[in-house]
Every structure is written in structure tokens, then in C-alpha cells.
């Protein structure tokens, strides 16, 4: 177990910069998730920590050891790959014990380590099979088993669940989280799926275009996104982002002229703003309730437990998520309101959060 320190790390391929100086401090035993859209540099950063990519600038420390120039095997890390990268001609047991075999450990020790990891992951009955004979979820577990056997200081996961079907992904999510609670090893985990990040991480690093947009605990990112990118990225369905400006009289004038009540939220007048409201924070109101607005239902999408409704206010479409059933037809007029504490204001030019 060890802490991990990434200090102004840069990466370029030739003259093309990919990471523009990333700083992350990862505490011992922490479950840290790097999340962002494809091409944001999250996988590159993980591979630099693993030693599979060279470091153009900055420092990476595992524990108190600078590992910039160490080969992967000397860094005391283990990695789970997106493709699992299991050796196809080896059995599950051989796959898991390969690193110890290379380290020339006695056979009894290898067997014991493999057996222990297999017990943790319920792989005991599969030890003599080859990867070809396993399902996707089982392969995933073997890949984790291979990492566990090494007993590394840091686990690295590179989009490990993206090849699984939706149901299995939910199950594995819980298994990985449980595994972390059980082993307590530091984990750095890369995903493009914000749900994975929200459900599993101790802390999330949101990356975009080679820079860190925000680092924080999952609910902090949800409650107080630092900028427009994080606001739009975290949360599903995505936050409603409405461009406009404050009218100085407690209202927010959207681009098309529709006026939304700010219900006491303080907004600087006379500059371009973006108002953010999460779909789940819009609630139904009686007509005439102070701070409510009227809109027309465009589409309703019931899922059983909740109903997602697109509502047109002026020319702006807002998405609302109700946990109650909604008896409304397209074209019906309904009234909405949002608590000021759940609204977010951003400066349009810089994208930064105001307040």
C-alpha cells in the first residue's frame, strides 16, 4: 500500500501535447477515479503511472519513490486492462501466478497466493480452465485475480467494465468496491462512465482536453460543479444549462426572452451567464405559486420508477425528472419550480461557477 503523487505531469506525442500539467495527490488506500470523455488523457495518465508511457515532464511518485524512469515491473503496481489481456494459452491459475513465476518464487508459495486470490474472487472452480472457456465476467475476475496475487502497492484499472453488458457491469461495480474495502489497497481507476465514477470512487478527477477540470468527492462534484464542463458531465440525465442574463429584479432572462425566476439566488446583472438546473431538482407546482414558471409538455418518457419529461418554456427546452407518475399529455401546460439552493450559476465566458 502506498500513496501516489502526480506533480505537474505533462505528455506530448511529438509536438502534440496530450496532458498539459496534471496535479493529483492520492492518499494511501484511496479509491480514485479518473473520468472524462474519450481523448481527455485519462488513460494516458494511467499508463504513465504504470510505466507503459514515457513521461514528458513532471514527477510521478509512488510512496516516496520517484518512479519516472523505472520500468513497470519495478513500480510495485498491478494493472487490469480493458481487454483483460489474459494470456490465452495459460490456464486461469497460470495466468494469475505468472508474475510470481517470473519472480522465481517457490511453487508452494505461488499456489498458495493463487488459491487465496481465487477464494476472494470465487474463481476456485475455474483454475484449470483457459480464458477462452470463460465468460466476460469471469475473465474480468481473473484479470483482477492476477493483480491481487502480486499484492501491489497500487492497483490500476483501465476501463475494466466497458466490455461487459449493462447488468454484469452493475454487479462488477459492487464487487470491485467490496474488493477495495476488503484489501484497502490504493486504486486508480479510469472510466468514461460517470455513473461508475459516482458509485465507486472516494474521490473523482474529472479530466477534459488534457487538463483536470475538478477534483472532489462524488457528491461534492454533483452538488457544486466548479465549471460548466463538470456540470454537464456529472449527473444523468445531464443538467439543464440555459444561457441568458440576470435582469436585476430576481429573474433570469433566457436567450429567447423567457423569464425564469431565480427565487432569491444572487446573480450579477449585465453579463452573460449560464443557469444550471438538474432535471431531478425541477418539481411540479400549483399554478400561481411564487417562483414558478409555466411550460408545455413536449415528450414524456416513463421508466416506471420515474418519469422524464421535456418541457418547453418560451423557446427553451428543459428536462425534468419526476419520481412520481405524471399524468400529462404532450401540449398540456404544467408549472415548475426549483429551489434556489439547487440552482447553479456560471459565467458564460470563463465557464466558472459564480458564488
Amino acid at each position: 500500500m502506498a500513496s501516489l503523487s502526480v506533480q505537474s505531469v505533462k505528455k506530448s506525442y511529438g509536438t502534440v501535447p496530450v496532458l498539459h500539467g496534471v496535479d493529483v495527490e492520492i492518499k494511501d488506500g484511496e479509491f480514485l477515479i479518473l473520468v472524462g470523455p474519450s481523448g481527455c488523457g485519462k488513460s494516458t495518465l494511467l499508463r504513465m503511472i504504470a510505466g507503459l508511457e514515457s513521461i514528458t515532464g513532471g514527477t510521478i511518485k509512488i510512496g516516496d519513490r520517484v518512479v519516472n524512469d523505472l520500468p513497470p515491473k519495478a513500480r510495485d503496481i498491478a494493472m487490469v486492462f480493458q481487454s483483460y489481456a489474459l494470456y490465452p494459452h495459460m490456464t486461469v491459475a497460470q495466468n494469475m501466478g505468472f508474475s510470481l513465476k517470473l519472480a522465481k518464487r517457490p511453487k508452494a508459495e505461488i499456489d498458495a497466493a493463487v488459491r487465496k486470490a481465487a477464494d476472494i474472487l470465487a474463481l476456485g472452480s475455474l483454475l484449470e480452465r483457459t480464458p477462452k472457456q470463460l465468460s466476460g465476467g469471469q475473465r474480468q475476475r481473473v484479470a483482477m485475480g492476477r493483480a491481487i496475487v502480486r499484492n501491489p502497492a497500487v492497483f490500476l484499472f483501465d476501463e475494466p467494465l466497458s466490455n461487459l453488458d449493462a447488468k454484469l457491469r452493475v454487479q462488477m461495480r459492487a464487487e470491485i468496491k467490496e474488493l477495495h474495502q476488503r484489501l484497502g489497497t490504493t486504486i486508480v481507476y479510469v472510466t468514461h462512465d460517470q455513473i461508475e465514477a459516482m458509485t465507486m470512487a472516494d474521490r473523482i478527477v474529472v479530466m477534459h482536453g488534457g487538463v483536470v477540470e475538478q477534483i472532489g468527492r462524488p457528491l461534492d462534484l454533483y452538488d457544486r460543479p466548479a465549471n460548466l464542463f463538470v456540470a454537464g458531465f456529472i449527473g444523468s440525465p445531464s443538467m439543464n444549462l440555459i444561457e441568458g442574463e440576470a435582469n436585476g429584479a430576481g429573474g433570469f432572462v433566457a436567450g429567447d426572452g423567457a423569464v425564469l425566476p431565480l427565487s432569491g439566488l444572487k446573480a450579477p446583472a449585465g453579463r452573460d451567464l449560464v443557469l444550471g438546473i438538474r432535471p431531478e431538482h425541477l418539481e411540479l407546482a400549483e399554478a400561481g405559486t411564487p417562483g414558478s414558471i409555466a411550460g408545455k409538455v413536449v415528450v414524456t418518457e416513463p421508466t416506471g420508477s420515474e418519469t422524464q419529461v421535456t418541457i418547453r418554456v418560451g423557446k427553451t427546452d428543459l428536462l425534468a425528472l419526476f419520481h412520481s407518475r405524471l399524468d400529462a399529455e404532450p401540449g398540456d401546460e404544467i408549472h415548475l419550480r426549483a429551489m434556489p439552493s439547487t440552482m447553479h450559476l456560471f459565467d458564460k465566458a470563463s465557464g466558472r461557477r459564480l458564488d
Binding site: 510505466g51 513497470p72 498491478a78 480493458q82 494470456y87 508474475s99 517470473l102 492476477r146 502480486r150
Partner: protein
């Protein structure tokens, strides 16, 4: 009881007959018939004919009488036959090993990211692309006599000229080397394709697991190209044993019969000694030897 069985059998026959007359069988059968017929005429008939010849004492211009297995027993008692068999085996073994090592080495080099890789790839394919007559005759010019290119180079450095094609040890060496030169590009190309299809993340996993370059070659690369390697060895075996061009065009199987393989021997019997029966018998023994080798290699592949 019997009658009942008969009707049962008869109805089974009727069902089968109906299956054969069904359009989904008849249409493909009609469409396939011409090519099957053609194959029978150009492959099955000559083969059976040749097999029959191996039991006769025919001449080139006159068909002979049936002599049973006399040709085979005579052949197996000839030292020349055992010499050819031995040379064929050495020739094939050296060619397979030489081509595999050279082909794999070059494929590993070509796989690396280096400037001019495309040009190298094309250049290295040339020995395989050039018609055998052209390349082998050019080689002969280079090693033929004391004034040939190789000997000029040797004398330039103060050595004595070597009579490559007149000394039997040298002739065997040269025939084998030129065969390797001619056939390694195919091996290289196939192995390169196999190497490129290996998942890169396996190497990354091996690097993290602590493998050195040699260990990851041994534990990742080799197992991944094992199957294609067996198939390539199989093809190389067939092509080496059946190779007529290299020993014949370089040295006519000589000096004496030093580079005479089974195919050259069969040719000699048939066209030089006018003994079709012995020629055919030699060919069929070659075929049996090859079939045994192919069977063995295919079993090896199935087991992996």
C-alpha cells in the same frame, strides 16, 4: 416379420431417394458437377494412372506389363534411393529450420518501428517473387566456376577458388542455402502477419508482471504464433520435398548424385533411364512419406 422389415427398409430408401431428388440437393449437384468432373479428369485420373504405372515395367513410348510390387522392392534395395531419401530429409529439415529462424528474425525486425520499413519489406520479398529459373540460374553464374563472382571475391581477398558445384559437400550446402534464400520471404511474411495480430496489451501485461523482453517473447509471442508455425512447417515440408527446381537447375542433382532428392530421382528414372515403372514407384513413395509427415504435423497442431 420379414415383410414388415422389408417395407420399413423400403420406406427408408424412399426417404433417402427423396432427399437426393429434392431441389436443394439437385440444384447444387448440377452446378458442382462440371468442376467435380474436371477435377476427376485432371487429378484423379492421372494419379490412378501413375499409381498403376508403378506396378508395370513400361517404357516412355510403350506401356509395359503388370509386374506386381517388383518396382517397389527393387527401389528399396537401391542405395541411390536411400541416398535420395536421406538428402530429401536433410534438405527439408535444413530448409525449414533455416527459413523459420531467418523468417522469424526478420519478421521481428520488420515489426519494429523503423524508417524505411516498407522498402525493406518489398526488397525482402524479391527472392520469392523472382521466377525460380531466373533466380537459380543467376545464382549458378555466381558460384559456377573459378571465375564466377563468388570466386573472384574469394581470390580478391587472397583465398583459393572453391568449386562450389563440383565438390559434393559444397554442392549440398549451396543447394540448401539457395533454397532457404528462395523460400524465407513467405515464412517472413506469414510470421509478420501473425505477429501483428497479437494483442499489444498482452505485452504490456507481461511487462507489468515483470517479464524481460526474452521472457515475453518466450511466454507471449511464441505461444501465440505456435499454430501458424506448425502450418508453415507443414507447407515448407511439402514444398521442400517436392522441390525439383533448386537441385536440378543448380547442379542437375550432382556432382554424382550428391544433390539428388526423391523428385530428381523419379525424373531420372523416367526420362533418363526410360523406366516409367520405377519413376512412378519413386513418386508414390515420396507421396507416402509426405502424407505420413503431414499426418504427424496435423496431429501436433490439433493437440495444441
Amino acid at each position: 416379420m420379414n415383410a414388415a422389415l422389408d417395407t420399413k427398409e423400403a420406406s427408408a430408401w424412399r426417404i433417402r431417394a427423396r432427399q437426393f431428388l429434392a431441389p436443394e440437393f439437385v440444384t447444387p449437384a448440377i452446378l458442382l458437377a462440371p468442376s467435380i468432373l474436371l477435377l476427376l479428369v485432371v487429378i484423379a485420373y492421372p494419379m490412378l494412372q501413375g499409381f498403376y504405372f508403378s506396378f508395370t515395367d513400361g517404357l516412355l513410348m510403350k506401356s509395359g506389363d503388370f509386374v506386381g510390387i517388383a518396382n517397389y522392392t527393387k527401389l528399396l534395395s537401391q542405395p541411390a534411393f536411400w541416398h535420395s531419401l536421406r538428402f530429401s530429409a536433410i534438405f527439408a529439415a535444413c530448409n525449414i529450420v533455416g527459413c523459420y529462424l531467418l523468417g522469424l528474425g526478420l519478421a521481428l525486425l520488420l515489426q519494429m518501428d523503423m524508417p524505411g520499413r516498407g522498402a525493406f519489406r518489398v526488397l525482402l520479398l524479391l527472392p520469392w517473387i523472382v521466377p525460380s529459373l531466373v533466380s537459380i540460374v543467376s545464382w549458378r553464374w555466381m558460384v559456377n566456376d573459378e571465375r564466377a563472382l563468388f570466386n573472384q571475391i574469394i581470390t580478391l581477398f587472397g583465398g583459393d577458388p572453391i568449386f562450389f558445384l563440383s565438390d559434393s559437400n559444397w554442392a549440398v550446402t549451396i543447394v540448401i542455402l539457395i533454397k532457404i534464400w528462395r523460400s524465407f520471404p513467405f515464412m517472413m511474411l506469414s510470421l509478420l502477419a501473425a505477429l501483428q495480430s497479437i494483442d499489444r496489451s498482452l505485452y504490456e501485461a507481461a511487462a507489468i508482471d515483470g517479464a524481460t523482453r526474452w521472457q515475453s517473447f518466450w511466454n507471449v509471442t511464441l505461444p501465440q504464433i505456435k499454430n501458424i508455425s506448425i502450418v508453415l512447417c507443414l507447407l515448407m515440408t511439402i514444398w521442400s520435398v517436392n522441390d525439383f527446381d533448386t537441385p536440378w537447375l543448380l547442379a542437375q542433382g550432382g556432382p554424382a548424385n550428391a544433390t539428388e532428392n526423391l523428385v530428381v530421382l523419379a525424373y531420372r528414372y523416367t526420362f533418363a533411364r526410360n523406366d516409367v515403372g520405377m519413376g512412378a514407384a519413386t513418386s508414390f513413395i515420396t507421396l507416402f512419406v509426405l502424407m505420413a509427415l503431414v499426418f504427424f504435423l496435423l496431429r501436433l497442431q490439433r493437440r495444441s
